[in-house]
Amino acid sequence: MASPSEAAAGSDGEAQAVFRGITDDVSRVALNPTPKWWWPAFGVSNLMLLCLVVSLYHLFTTGIGVWGNNNIQGWAWDITNFVFWIGIGHAGTLISAVLYLFRQDWRTSINRSAEAMTIFAVAAAGIFPIIHTGRPWFAWWMIPHPNDMGMWPQFRSPLMWDVFAISTYATTSILFWYMGMVPDLATLRDRAKERWKQVGYGLLALGWRGSARQWHRYERAYLILAALSTPLVLSVHSVVSFDFATSQNPGWHTTIFPPYFVAGAIFSGFAMVATLLVPLRHLCGLKHIIKESHIEAMCKIMIATGLMVGGAYGIEIFIAWYSGNAGEWFTFRNRVLGEYSWAYFAMVSCNVLVPQFFWIRKCRTNPWIVVGLCILINVGMWFERFVIIATSLARQAMPGMWGYFSPTRWDVLTFIGSFGLFFTLFLLFARFLPVIAMAEVKAVSPEAHAGKDHH
């Protein structure tokens, strides 16, 4: 395969050569034979997915009791994982929508995979609210529908808000992702050689032909979707935080949660995007499209959001003391110094101290260090949710019902399995779909203005 610079040597216009180079490099990933690294990665992901299948089978046949949840901590790893994954998803929407509104053109090389990551993270998150119910076969009762009991859902419950927020978020993310992908699917359609690929991509591309009138409406729709996704993404994690903030429990009942959760979500999401993209750009040969500067930009965002999260930790404790609410103040002292202090310090060191390494340029450019730090950040963000959920519930108002949560092996397997689901979906995406928004990258390249009279 020729690189763009080589292609420019041809007799075509230079601009066309650049466009063709982008097309070639990206569609090659989807259209060429499966690369060698893909199968082992897919195999490992599938093994992890198998963990999910096995643990869900055990869960559905035995009950929530296979986990460590108990009558003191009704929620533990299940909801921790849920909030963790939803948070991861937020970075994708942020990159695709918010950075689009701010005209951050560098987003085009990472937005497609970030959006895909959003959807797969929402999928991994979405299983938890369903499987964490005691009777998951009745989870559909949360969807309003006429029934012979004559009952309706109870809309004052933050869990109902969750149902609407998460389903809206999943729908919007999928539609936004798919709409952005249609012109690129058309590219694959026009370049695929096997018949089944032509038909498959052809159906998905909806007959896209890049007409200017279509582009006009398409761009407008894209802008509107971006404008709708921005308040949506802020609302989703706010609503998730309402699960805790509207409750009566000290440690949960705080007004800082919505912004704090959103900042944390973006923080963890960028860490996950970087974790995925750093290997991807190496393995798929996309280094010239996903550039080092993009990774660096993400690291800088992580410094910013990490500081926000750190600030929130401080404010939380300050307010707990300043409010004069004895229960609140005890919960926070207990969080820091009590039986779960190890979790608290794991959280603080991973979320506040680790991103500070990104001030050093070498840490932003060395792929190993970036991935290592990002994984640590995600560990920290998982602990943040665990600290909020498990440690707050451990010691509530009645000391007669204080307890300590210990996970079972099924907790661990389910968590590993959710990663399996996420990675399996992501690998399928990276193998069969356009991993980079070709049309958008072309549109923001300098060559997109070739031949125009600049006046």
Binding site: G10, T168, Q198, V199
Partner: protein
């Protein structure tokens, strides 16, 4: 005019690109020789038949800038039915082509408004109107708790309107388009910039338009004909069939649910999820195979006395005093008009069907049996001098409680007080049926 699939040398092409472009090793036609029936390619191998209708002219340009300039020229020449095609949105082409701003935002706004209203109405109807339960002492309807969901439905409907509205306005999905027949057009999703003028345009003239496009700087111009074969312009049959089948299959459960909701059935309902319908506990009327009598109810153990069930007063509960039938009345029974009225009411319900309202033994049951030719004699309770008149009150009470011959006991239907009331009423009946004229109250003797 033909456009051979493997031939780049086309008349009118001012500056054809070389057949093998670098970076595009498979070539424009490598994968496109055999795709006739999905309607994108030339399909019939060597161009179109002579009866095929001209769709228009497709001109290729090298850069976005050239395309914009050409679009401006074509528009200035008075053409309206033309469009530009590019691998990405070319900025500046809208004014050049004279494209008016889409009205999509207005549609989306209306969609969002609908979402807001529907979401709010839904919550109000479900939680405050149709099913207004007291939840945590809160008002059945208060806006703050309902904001998040209204917010989400607003966004959801806006998003759906945007997405589907955009495709509808763009008239997509449309898998077939005449330009797809041209191999060169495949580059529109790669690096090609095209301008297509349609034959339906008022100012369209094959030669003049071609000249106009050449003058606008087209590097290549091709004529495009509409494929005459209808199957080339539609989805492949098998895809349509598969989609139809899938839709039908998906509708089956829905149809079943609607059928189940609309019809009545004598069959017990399906316990897809038992939802505690089958309980491990045993109710008193349930069978239980572990015991010899097959009943779950163990009843009272012999010799036990339940609280409040001592019933030590023989006179009241059994009509016995000192080993003999009670002749008077137990102390608990008050002789009053109210007791008599109660006794009459109970008598009319439980006794009259056989013994008759007058106590003469010809109630509706014996009367009916007699009418049918049989015999079901009931005792005449008021016959002068009969045993019923002379028997002690206690014995009468005992008969009501425990039955006599074919008459069954009424202890389970009538509590003790009611049975004594019936005794009183029967005594009153006997008295009234056998009264002498002289016993009648003064004033009622004369008919």
């Amino acid at each position: 005019m033909t456009t051979p699939a493997n031939d780049d040398e086309t008349p009118g092409a001012a500056d054809a690109p070389p057949p093998d472009r670098p970076g595009h090793a498979d070539g424009p036609d490598g994968g496109r020789g055999d795709d006739g029936d999905d309607g994108r390619g030339t399909g019939n191998g060597n161009g179109h038949g002579s009866d095929e209708e001209l769709h228009g002219l497709l001109a290729e340009f090298e850069t976005p800038g050239a395309l914009i300039a050409a679009a401006r020229k074509v528009r200035n020449a008075g053409h309206t039915e033309f469009d530009c095609y590019s691998p990405f949105p070319v900025h500046g082409i809208d004014p050049a082509m004279g494209i008016k701003a889409t009205r999509l935002p207005i549609v989306v706004f209306l969609g969002g408004l609908t979402g807001l209203v529907l979401g709010t109405l839904m919550q109000w109807w479900m939680n405050a109107y149709d099913w207004p339960w007291n939840v945590a002492g809160k008002p059945t309807w208060s806006i703050p708790a309902n904001v998040p969901i209204s917010y989400e439905t607003t966004i959801l409907l806006s998003v759906l309107t945007t997405f589907f509205g955009m495709w509808a306005a763009n008239k997509l999905p449309q898998v077939w388009h005449p330009f797809f027949r041209l191999d060169r057009f495949a580059r529109v999703t790669d690096d090609g910039f095209f301008l297509g003028v349609e034959a339906g345009d008022k100012r369209f003239d094959l030669e003049q338009t071609r000249q106009l496009l050449v003058a606008a700087g087209a590097t290549h111009i091709e004529e495009c004909y509409v494929d005459a074969r209808p199957e080339a312009r539609t989805m492949p049959r098998w895809i349509m069939a598969a989609m139809a089948v899938l839709t039908m299959v998906a509708l089956i459960p829905v149809a079943l649910v609607f059928k189940a909701r609309a019809t009545k059935s004598p069959d017990p309902h399906w316990h897809v999820f038992s939802d505690m319908d089958y309980q491990p506990k045993l109710k008193s009327d349930q069978p239980f195979a572990d015991f010899a009598d097959g009943r779950a109810n163990r009843g009272e153990l012999p010799g036990t006395v339940a609280r409040g069930q001592l019933k030590a007063d023989d006179a009241y509960y059994r009509g016995i005093a000192g080993g003999q039938w009670l002749t008077g009345l137990p102390a608990q029974v008050e002789v009053s008009e109210a007791t008599l009225a109660r006794g009459k009411q109970r008598y009319d319900i439980y006794c009259a069907p056989c013994h008759g309202f007058d106590g003469a033994g010809m109630g509706i049951v014996p009367a009916r049996v007699e009418a049918l030719g049989g015999a079901w004699p009931a005792r005449n309770l008021v016959e002068r001098g009969s045993a019923v008149i002379t028997m002690p009150n206690g014995q009468l009470y005992n008969t009501i409680s425990n039955g006599y011959n074919t008459m069954m006991g009424y202890a389970s239907q009538m509590p003790v007080a009611d049975r004594w009331a019936v005794v009183l009423y029967v005594r009153a009946l006997q008295r009234s049926q056998n009264a002498a004229e002289s016993e009648l109250p003064a004033g009622s003797q004369v008919r």
